[in-house]
């Protein structure tokens, strides 16, 4: 079944939650709903599930209007960010609950329960109550209940966000495998660009209730349509600095460099350049621009160091591999390959993506 949203919007007490959403969701595909908090991800998922009604626009399934179909008779599964299970049912009964409601035969139910429990590695806990499981197991149970449904539309609202790092990695890997086998529509909401990149599928970027770009995550990362997408689809946000393109120079603040070759010929005037924080190198390399300035703040994040510094009259962020002792107030020089620069027009539209393909994560 194909779900089509046409100009769907939702207002609550005058506040706009969703606006002008046009989407086509096709079976067997994975859609990653990406956006910052309050971008409208949960609102969109709830509208898709039928829990909230769109206040404008149409939502159809194979051409039939979905608005009239009551939630219990829709073929939808929903996994929340919180671990939502039926606390008075055993693990096995939790997985079986939606199947029983759909009137499946006892053999079919037990077959599916054992099958799904094995896939999420809960087969030895079938008789326990959800309260006796760890957080990761509880979320796996919620996912198992959604999988057992074999619903044609599966909605995941940041399902991994309340889990610790190790569990997340493992469970994300499991989910990707599970999604690959299915014929259903999977919609998976996340706030992390990294997760969108790892999940694959089609990424839909939401911002303030609107779809600002959609396509494969890699493509969104390489060719963000606007400075807005570039800055939200990057963690930490992409450096966006006003610049000026001249006949054979590019002026970034007080810095003037030879015009990079990937800027389309004939283009001149005010613009903004974008630079991924991880593309700022600590080490010198031939042909690199030197961003010389002063350290403001350094944060160490496990394996890399975030260096906030000023150069060419603007603040920058660099993400440098490894742990470095960088002290505020000392001199700092970042080295940037000019081919790594994105160029956005003054209104934010992408003019030239970075010329370097390379690995997405530096």
């Amino acid at each position: 079944m194909t779900i089509r949203l046409e100009n769907v919007g939702r207002r609550v007490d005058g506040a706009m939650h969703l606006s002008g959403i046009d989407l086509v969701l096709e079976p067997g595909r994975l859609y990653v709903l990406f956006g910052r908090t309050h971008a409208g991800k949960t609102s969109l998922l709830r509208v898709l599930a039928g829990l909230d009604r769109p206040s404008e626009g149409r939502m159809t399934e194979n051409g039939a209007d979905l608005a009239a179909v009551p939630v219990p008779s829709r073929n939808v599964a929903f996994v929340y960010q919180q671990f939502v299970n039926y606390p008075s049912f055993s693990v096995g009964e939790n997985i079986a609950a939606p199947l029983r409601r759909r009137g499946l035969s006892a053999e079919e139910i037990s077959r599916r329960v054992t099958d799904v429990a094995r896939r999420v590695q809960l087969e030895s806990f079938l008789d326990r109550l959800p309260g006796q499981l760890s957080g990761g197991q509880q979320q796996r149970l919620a996912i198992a209940r959604a999988l057992a449904r074999e619903a044609s539309l599966m909605l995941f609202d940041e399902p991994l966000v309340n889990l610790d790092y190790k569990l997340r990695e493992g469970l994300r890997e499991e989910l990707r495998g599970l999604f690959r086998q299915g014929r259903q529509i999977v919609v998976y909401a996340t706030t992390e660009p990294e997760e969108a990149l790892q999940m694959g599928g089609t990424t839909i970027v939401l911002h303030e209730g609107r779809v600002v770009q959609q396509g494969p995550a890699q493509e969104i990362y390489r060719k963000p349509q606007s400075a807005l997408v570039a800055s939200i689809f990057s963690e930490p946000p992409m450096n966006l600095v006003p610049a000026r393109i001249e006949a054979d120079r590019l002026r970034i603040g007080t810095l003037s460099i030879p015009r990079p070759a990937h800027i389309p010929a004939g283009l001149q005037g005010e613009c903004r350049i974008g630079l991924q924080p991880h593309r700022v190198r600590h080490a010198e390399s031939p042909g690199a621009i030197r961003l010389e300035g002063e350290m403001l703040l350094a944060e160490v994040d496990g394996s890399s160091t975030f260096a906030h510094f000023t150069a060419a009259g603007h603040p920058w962020v660099a993400r440098i591999e490894g742990v470095h002792a960088l002290h505020p107030g000392t001199a700092f020089a970042g080295h940037v390959d000019p081919r790594d620069l994105y160029v956005f027009a003054a209104d934010g539209a992408l003019v030239a993506p970075a010329a370097t393909g390379g690995p997405v994560h530096g």
Binding site: A49, G50, L51, V71, P72, S73, R74, V76, A77, F78, Y80, Q82, V84, Y86, P87, S88, F89, A97, P98, R101, R102, R145, R149
Partner: protein, 289 residues
């Protein structure tokens, strides 16, 4: 060197708080003991009286029961006007508890989950029922129940009590229900549960302690209420609280018999508290008790 210097005064200081702690413990234990003694003494006294003949009750001030006998209890369990009083009282208390819960559960769910026109006003209005003393409602209830033929039945007292118990029940249950995340309701809806089935099989077990606490309060109000029970019954449905007070005024003072009836009236309350004590503790932690 410095380590030793700092250690010595620290050790001296350690003993002082310990001594005050012991003294405080003795003090609080004494206070608690006195309190329990005052609480238990009347109960002991009624048990003592219930085991004595009327004559001995009036003449012997001994601490222990004099010539203990179970005659008083024997009278209660053989005389229908006594034991049927218990049956009447238990039946209207049970009716009241069941009706109140049956009404308050859906009402509390509505207040907790939905927004509707005037929801807050209705919630407050429910409470205003409790602000009037039961005596205010004596006359209308008496007239009304006489007119529809409910007078002197357990239903009369049970229904009259629900007026006071339902608001409290709604309020307590609403607190418990609002502690359960809405996502559970929505998940059940998405999973294909109908609302009644979800309510009974998923939701009610989640607020079991709240229901226990609410049932306890319904029971307690109805079990100890005298005024309505006395006005709305005469002979056929007379409860024990009424029988006891009427016996005291008409047939002289059979202190021993009254004491035995009193002991038997305390017992169900103790039993109910025993069963719900864990729920009550949970209720204090979770809801609105």
């Amino acid at each position: 060197m410095t380590a030793i210097q700092t250690f010595v005064p620290a050790a001296a200081e350690l003993t002082r708080p310990k001594r005050t702690a012991t003294r405080a413990r003795i003090f609080s234990a004494t206070l608690l003991g006195l309190f329990l003694l005052f609480q238990a003494l009347p109960i002991y006294w009624i048990v003592r009286m219930s085991l004595m003949t009327p004559n001995n009750v009036l003449t012997r001030p001994d601490f222990l029961p004099v010539e203990p006998t179970l005659d008083n209890y024997r009278t209660i369990f053989t005389d229908p006007s006594w034991y049927m009083s218990y049956v009447h009282q238990i039946s209207y208390v049970a009716l009241n508890t069941v009706i109140s819960l049956a009404v308050a559960l859906p009402a509390a769910y509505a207040f907790s989950r939905y927004r509707f026109l005037g929801d807050k006003h209705v919630f407050f209005w429910l409470f205003s029922n409790r602000m009037a003393p039961p005596a205010v409602f004596l006359l209308p209830f008496f007239q009304l129940y006489s007119a529809v033929g409910l007078f002197d039945t357990p239903w009369a007292v049970a229904l009259a009590h629900t007026l006071f118990v339902v608001p409290l029940a709604v309020w307590i249950l609403e607190g418990f229900m609002s502690g359960i995340p809405r996502e559970i309701d929505e998940t059940a809806l998405v999973d294909g549960f109908s609302l009644p089935r979800f309510f009974v099989t998923v939701f009610m077990p989640m607020i079991a302690s709240g229901i226990g606490v609410t049932a306890f309060f319904c029971f307690m109000f109805s079990w100890i209420e005298l005024l309505l029970a006395r006005t709305l019954t005469s002979v056929d449905a007379r409860p024990i609280v009424v029988t006891m007070t009427r016996t005291a005024s008409t047939s002289g003072m059979d202190w021993g018999l009254l004491a035995a009836a009193g002991v038997l009236t305390i017992l169900p309350g103790i039993a109910v508290i025993w069963f719900v004590r864990n729920y009550i503790a949970k209720g204090f932690a979770l809801g609105r008790v």
